[in-house]
């Protein structure tokens, strides 16, 4: 009896934290997504409808019939592609960086870790505005490339998905570098020596020993970049422009200008389910691989 009470008391802080900060908001969001939108924004709390989810896939034509509308699916698709490309590019930049860092003398390693985290110290908005200055026509990069005679007129990068990818890659780089660095740093150097000793050249030592043993870091980093990348809002908004809208901007719009809370909530919920499904698929694959005799 006392034991049960004690257990409840000790569990209470974590239950409250998870409940109030996680379950409750998510439940509220799911609930809102099933409500009727209010005439001037907000929701009507006692009127349920599936309109928000219908709106995701269909629109009403002039005769008030439901016809399929793929606009939102396109935005989702574009977001997934941009997030995936961002993840791939981030990985391509981060892995060599992490590898190089992990093989520095210990004191310099600490300094490098600190340097990698320095961008966190400035506002993300400021950093994205800085990219506008760099990427816009007549901006620094455009000017330099033109001077070198490498581009004809202008680079025309700003307000394209490429600019979004550049901005996201830059923003998320530390999230990829740090997990990979950690897994490489704790990798036993003797394993690499053993690979060399057994006749592996540099490439084979990397491919057969270093890369497989740093996979947990790679997977962790990929999740940390892909998931927020999917819902990213600031970089697509500032650098991507209207033609390359992503989920994050779309959701923000529903709660802002469009005053359509149920639809915004529904979009968030679909995004959440997609992400959870992707994570579950990965976890299942990982478990199968581990269970393999």
């Amino acid at each position: 009896m006392m034991g049960a009470l004690r257990r409840a008391g000790l569990l209470a802080p974590s239950v409250l934290t998870i409940g109030v900060l996680l379950i409750l908001p998510l439940g509220l969001m799911a609930f809102v997504s099933t409500l009727e939108r209010g005439p001037t924004g907000g929701v009507i709390w006692n009127q349920h409808t599936a309109d928000a989810y219908v709106q995701f896939l269909f629109e009403r034509d002039l005769t008030d019939r439901l016809v399929i509308n793929t606009d939102y699916l396109h935005i989702f698709g574009r977001s997934i592609v941009v997030a995936a490309i961002t993840t791939a590019v981030t990985l391509a930049v981060a892995f060599p960086m992490a590898l190089w860092m992990a093989f520095q003398p210990p004191r310099r390693r600490l300094l490098l870790v600190f340097i990698v985290t320095v961008p966190f110290w400035t506002n993300i908005l400021v950093r994205n505005y800085a990219w506008i200055l760099l990427l816009r026509n007549d901006g620094v990069i455009d000017w330099v490339l033109a001077r070198l005679g490498l581009t004809g007129e202008h680079i025309n990068v700003l307000y394209t998905p490429l600019a979004t990818t550049i901005g996201l890659t830059y923003s998320f780089l530390p999230y990829m570098v740090l997990p990979i660095y950690v897994s490489l740093e704790k990798l036993d150097r003797r394993l690499i020596e053993a690979a060399f000793d057994l006749g592996a050249n540099r490439w084979h030592a990397f491919r057969r020993v270093i890369l497989p043993l740093s996979m947990p870091g790679v997977v962790g980093g990929a999740i940390l970049v892909f998931v927020p990348g999917l819902g990213a809002f600031i970089s697509p908004e500032l650098l991507g422009g209207a033609k390359s809208m992503m989920i994050g901007s779309l959701i923000q719009q529903q709660f802002g200008q469009s005053r359509n809370w149920p639809f915004g909530a529904a979009l968030s919920f679909v995004l959440l389910v997609l992400v959870l499904m992707a994570l579950a698929a990965h976890a299942a694959r990982y478990r199968r691989k581990e269970a393999r005799p």
Partner: protein
């Protein structure tokens, strides 16, 4: 071999050294005519911008198919020398030849040597079979050959049936065997072993010592074994190089090293020893600081000041008087198979006598008793100081 109590180490050392000529006679004879496998010539290696001199002009010739041990305290340079042979480090000066061909500049993966690491360094993400196959795959051997070679190697180290286990599912001893099988699979010219047994417990270590010796005999590969354990070195080696502070002090068979140390450090490091400072007063005659005169069988070096070396088991207790040196017993230590007498010689020199309890325990001598000490001239080595 199954003594009810573990034998005291120093006694064990003496016993093995005494046994060695019989068991090592045959391979010893074969080794004498063998060719040189690894030839280290005047190797120097410093670390940290010359601050630490790990190896200082080391020259060593390791013969084909011998079990060669680099023995010394930590920091003596033995592991550095091994890593130079493997190619993990580069010497500042000097040359290493393998079968007469210089290894200089060759990366580790181009050298026909393989290493068994102190911490095993078994690949944790690969199964036992994949670990053993690693080197063969790197050499792009045909699949069928790899499979049969892996099988053969696992049989050699007695790990059949564990092919698909991951290293985390193995005991330390089993991981050690995987590391051995993996290194031997490539049929290296030389197998380098960097204190491979130090992480194992005593019983397993003793087992693996015999196992390694058997393996070496079976595969007929030159083994270069690094250890700080003199007992291990005496048990397993055909020849031993005793190292200290970047220098090789003595190279010889276990018997030579134990019976005829050429340096004070070697005599002290291997087994128990009495070291007595003396001055030369004639041919094979020396005087201790206390004035006591001692006769030796060997003439000794020409220097005036020398160190006399005598093993505790070679000195004898005797009745007081006659030619025996007079001493007083300070402590009697019964260690099961032996009794150790710590005595003080005239002039205050401490001395140690070890007597085997051949006829069961007896304590004819007690602490405080006066006693005579006999040092047979043939048992005394004379070293220049």
């Amino acid at each position: 071999m199954s003594a009810p109590q573990p034998m005291p180490r120093h006694l064990e050392v003496a016993r093995i050294a005494a046994m060695k000529p019989d068991i090592a006679a045959a391979p010893g004879a074969a080794v004498r005519t063998a060719t040189i496998a690894v030839d280290c010539r005047n190797i120097t290696k410093t670390f940290g911008a010359g601050a630490v001199r790990a190896l200082d002009g080391v020259s060593l010739a390791i013969r084909s198919n011998e079990f060669f041990t680099l023995l010394g305290p930590s920091g003596c340079g033995k592991t550095t020398l091994l890593r130079l042979i493997a190619g993990f480090e580069t010497q500042d000066s000097g040359t290493i030849l393998l079968d007469g061909k210089p290894l200089d500049g060759l990366p580790p993966y181009r050298r026909p040597v393989n290493t068994v690491f102190q911490s095993y360094a078994v690949f944790p993400h690969l199964t036992v079979a994949e670990n053993v196959a690693f080197g063969l795959e790197m050499q792009r051997r045909p699949r069928a050959e790899i499979a049969s070679r892996v099988k053969e190697m696992l049989a050699l180290v007695k790990l059949e049936g564990l092919e698909s286990r991951k290293p985390a599912q193995l005991s330390g001893g089993q991981q050690q065997r995987v590391a051995l099988a993996r290194a031997l699979a490539n049929k290296p010219r030389v197998l380098l072993l960097d204190e491979p047994l130090s992480a194992l417990d005593l019983k397993l270590r003793t087992e693996m010592q015999l196992e390694l010796k058997r393996l070496q005999h079976e595969v007929g590969i030159t083994f270069v074994f690094v250890t700080h354990d003199q007992h291990e070195a005496l048990t397993m080696s055909d020849r031993i190089a005793v190292m200290r502070a970047g220098h090789v002090l003595q190279v010889g068979t276990p018997e030579e090293i134990y019976e005829h140390p050429t340096a004070r450090f070697v005599a002290d490091f291997i087994g128990e020893t009495n070291l007595l400072d003396a001055t030369r007063i004639g041919t094979a005659r020396y005087r201790l600081a206390s004035g006591v005169e001692i006769e030796t069988a060997e003439p000794g070096p020409p220097e005036a000041s020398v160190t006399l070396v005598i093993r505790p088991e070679r000195a004898l207790l005797a009745p007081v008087g006659g030619s025996a040196l007079s001493a007083r017993v300070e402590q009697v230590v019964y260690v099961g198979s032996d009794t150790i007498y710590l005595v003080v010689l005239e002039g205050g020199l401490r001395f140690r006598v070890r007597e085997q309890n051949r006829d069961g325990p007896r304590s004819r001598v007690r602490a405080g008793d006066p006693v005579g000490i006999v040092m047979p001239p043939a048992a005394i080595r004379v070293l220049a100081q």
